[in-house]
Symmetry: C2
Subunit: 363 residues, 2 copies
């Protein structure tokens, strides 16, 4: 177990999850949904899993200010780092690092970065992987990514090619790969030596900020100024006009595109399988449940007749499916989604169309 004082967990909770419409909404993004059977929201589960690792006091939730009330409702007593606005993961992670250094002057904490909206089955194995990642980050100037051993040729995940072995289950990163075609994903699986990129990271605050200097210099400069303002005891980020001004000029880029794919000091922890899913879309959500003999998954009140490979989630009404193949039906109170399995990534197009129509009631 890592010492608890020098490790902080930064939970990234600013996402929208528009592929989870109609359940996810602007005012209730995916990380606040209870997608399993437990009634626990994804963000609640994320926090619960790491409390034994670093203690409640060392957990921060990073999100844009509009979500602050919702975060406190889901995680009572949460310490929130407010982004003035959503600016993708690089700016979010940079703010978290600047904030940690301002809060602990003279120290250089290890930051474990976790998306708030992933599903994980084996908490113990997760903590073991995070612990190892934190150790690597503490003892070296490395950017550590948690890699997941692929179980099937998934086309929705990024892949990491492992390089030479380091301590424990850690390897240097030879290369990051974007979401592959099915053919390419199959090749990765056959060849071996690849991990899924979980989007969970560990690094020391100073190390990630140093990387920003190399690959996102304007953002690094802005973050240095934000850190100085925070160190002077500024009362949090959202109310500070200068921080908002700096932040608004940041490039909206992911940490992967903006930093990791260019950095030479990347390490991957080849974690033991711990039942991880990024729950990126409704079909991935369904993957975590057992199907019936016809390959259907039913949650809620439904009648299913002559149908195969369907996913049905009903809220307050009965859903009847007749003669369907590989169709997903998601019922929310005020909207119902019917989408073919192959088009499940296009659910975000519904949200775009609703935006275009000015349907604030439904997005």
């Amino acid at each position: 177990m890592a010492a608890q004082t020098d490790v902080m967990v930064m939970v990234l909770a600013g996402g929208q999850g528009s592929r989870f419409w109609p359940l996810s909404r602007a005012a209730l993004p995916k990380q606040f949904l209870s997608l399993g059977d437990s009634g626990e929201s994804l963000i609640q589960a994320t926090v619960r899993r790491v409390v034994p690792l670093v203690g409640q006091a060392n957990i921060r939730i990073v999100a844009n200010a509009q979500l602050e009330a919702l975060i406190h409702k889901h995680v009572p007593g949460a310490k929130v780092i407010c982004e003035p606005m959503a600016k993708n993961t690089a700016a979010c992670i940079g703010l978290a690092a600047a904030s940690a250094l301002a809060e602990h002057p003279g120290s250089d904490p290890v930051l474990i970065v976790l998306p708030a909206d992933h599903a994980i089955k084996d908490d113990q194995r997760l903590r073991s992987a995070l612990d190892e990642a934190a150790q690597r980050a503490r003892e070296s100037d490395m950017l550590v990514t948690i890699g997941i051993p692929p179980t099937h040729p998934h086309t929705g995940y990024g892949y990491i090619k492992k390089g030479k072995p380091l301590n424990g289950r850690s390897y240097s990163v030879e290369r990051f790969f974007e979401k592959p075609s099915l053919e390419r994903a199959q090749k990765y699986l056959e060849q071996g030596g690849y991990c899924w990129n979980s989007g969970m990271f560990a690094w020391r605050a100073s190390v990630i900020l140093e990387s920003f200097k190399s690959f996102l210099p304007p953002m690094a400069q802005g973050l240095a100024e934000i850190q100085a303002i925070l160190k002077q005891g500024a009362d949090g980020t959202p109310g500070n006009a200068r921080i908002a001004e700096i932040f608004s000029n940041f490039e909206a880029i992911s940490i992967d595109f903006g930093v990791l794919e260019h950095a030479k000091n990347c390490v991957v922890v080849d974690a033991e399988e711990f039942g991880w899913s990024d729950v990126g879309s409704w079909d991935q959500w369904a993957e975590s449940f057992q199907r019936d003999a016809e390959g259907n998954l039913v949650k809620g009140d439904a009648v299913v007749i002559d149908s195969r490979g369907c996913v049905i989630r009903s809220a307050n009404r009965l859903v009847a499916a007749v003669g369907l193949n590989d169709v997903i039906v998601i019922d929310a109170g005020d909207a119902v989604l019917v989408v073919s399995h192959e088009h499940v990534q296009d659910v975000r197009k519904v949200v775009e169309e609703l935006k275009r129509r000015g349907r604030a009631d439904l997005i």
Copy 2:
């Protein structure tokens, strides 16, 4: 125009229409739904169309007693002949004939029999066809069916092969055919000389009851007794225990199977096309509307993306369809149906399953 005094219209309104679930329910069968854009229910339209032909006073609505209140709500001032229970069309039509003769002793009215739940576009042409049918029925001891010129090889309708020409547009019936295969329906269309069986009939009360004597003798005997009871001034059918007892013993058989397919005195009026549909299922409902460029039909609040040949009817919520082909989505308040076009006849299986589960709230 037929003389108004000797013609009565019998509207058969006892059906369930379970293929129109989730809109149709036991307490609100299909004939009480407003399926067009006008807001008028099917039964209201059925009555409205024949008022100019026979006058309101000569219209009777035949249905089981549970529907009486609903009938009066839809057709204020309606004269209702109550079946003690639903027993298919032969018993229903027999009761209507016995009732008409009891009401008009010494006369023998022509009865026009109309299903309450069909859609018709050209009222004028309908009345012209019914008028001709009534004339045939008045002047001969014939069982007259309204035939519809087929416009395409429909597999959901019965067919009638026309025999030798009689007066006007009337022909002797060579044979009735059940719902055909697509191949057979195509053959009928190519050969010509066939009509769709509309389920609309005309005959004199005495003539149909005479036919019952030949083909359904126990029912004929029971109907004679019911007629005698009604003639003695019995206060309607539902309250009379003896009528209920007789009726309960009737065979539940359709007029087509029970009488018409055996009778030698059948006539078909080869009517001018008047935009008729029996609206037997959701796909037939959709046939009466114009599709958009992608072959989709949308009624209500919906977003349709990358979909072809779909039918969407939403009630109080938004329906989003993504990547679907030939799927029908019907949203009611408490249930939503998603059915592939090929399985549209199986919607009744949903109702059967709900019955099995004791879901009185949804059937």
